[in-house]
Symmetry: C2
Subunit: 192 residues, 2 copies
DNA sequence: ACCTTGTTAGTTAATGCTCACTAACTATAT
DNA sequence: ATATAGTTAGTGAGCATTAACTAACAAGGT
């Protein structure tokens, strides 16, 4: 995962091409044109198109595990951990709106078996990490335990995904972070 | 929207082709092969590929408006209306799993401007319909009003979308309707 | 009863475009 | 001298779509 400057440029361009007009818009020609080099030059940096897509997914995988295993989150309460994770997601999306359009667009990779397996793995590992936090919070009495942790997981992350999708479809025309904070305030009322 | 038997067959096959391997899998050749006729024969029934996609979206548009304007839902309480809508969605997905993979996969249509506009319209009209129900319920005291209706909308429908997506990605390996009912029971606790 | 005409739903063959990818070559910087 | 990062030109495959033709059937006039 040590990408050269050119490789990183190709990945960035690829993400924005997909975000803009879907996976069909990701062609070697479009990548090359956007960067301003010829098509074969792309193959100096990636073996083939598949490797480009795989590298995009690799970068997604990093995001969540990074946050949940960071030092600064260690001593927080369960609710604060969830808040940290949610707001971190919103901030990342605002920083890179293209990412937001891809992050929850699992369909984009379902064309290829290897890629869709990877997508599924990423989803599962994120889910497992959050489950731990939720059930720990329930045991400590910080989170209500009259609703099972699986349902709570869906109730916390479903709305986040929907909000980010609405933001993407709206062309980023509202303040995602502010709306995200409002949503979290509402969710907090519900969790206690 | 009066489709001949052959047109309906093409639509059904198209939906399952997309659901199976993404929009890239929807080619005239694949449609023709699945049905067992030649490629040009498809053009006897649809002007072009765009019209096929448009017809698929048309059928999606019908689904939600149908439910929300049906007679049987008229005299129900707000909560029961929402329950009816949610469970109806789950049942439709179980009946036609291919539909579920497409229903919330807006990315599939973002390649084309006209199609993505249509997708956005469908989303908005569904959201507007549900907003009415939620704020009516708040005014009647059936739904808590310490959380604004926009956040409540996201808290109700975000989890449903996530659940259906998980079901699709899992290869329909759990009982969607049962899980959906459980989720709704949890959501009901939250809404009151 | 039987030709004429038109429609419907299919066929084979072909067109022009775009795709991912490769071969062969070249400039440049170390 | 050699590795790096680019170029032009081309290949073969797959794509949506069209042209031209045909078999099956139905209605109307004689």
């Amino acid at each position: 995962m040590d990408l050269t400057a050119r490789q990183q440029e190709i990945i960035n361009v690829s993400v924005s091409l997909i975000a803009d007009k879907g996976i069909q818009n990701l062609t070697i020609k479009n990548i090359a044109q956007t960067i301003g080099i010829s098509e074969p030059a792309i193959y100096r940096h990636f073996k083939n198109k598949f490797e480009i897509l795989m590298t995009i997914l690799d970068s997604f995988e990093l995001i969540a595990t990074d946050v949940l295993n960071s030092e600064e989150i260690k001593d927080l309460s369960s609710l604060d951990k969830i808040e940290f994770f949610l707001l971190d997601r919103y901030r990342r999306c605002v920083e890179n709106p293209n990412l937001s359009k891809l992050m929850f667009a699992e369909e984009n990779f379902q064309d290829d078996e290897q890629l869709s397996k990877k997508v599924l793995n990423i989803m599962h590992s994120h889910k497992d990490e959050m489950h731990k936090v939720i059930s720990a919070g329930q045991k400590l009495g910080e989170i209500r335990d009259d609703i099972d942790s699986i349902a709570l997981f869906r109730i916390i992350f479903g709305p986040m995904r929907l909000l980010i999708k609405q933001w993407g479809l709206s062309g980023c025309r509202f303040d995602l972070l502010e709306e995200g904070k409002k949503l979290w305030e509402a969710e907090k009322k519900i969790l206690k």
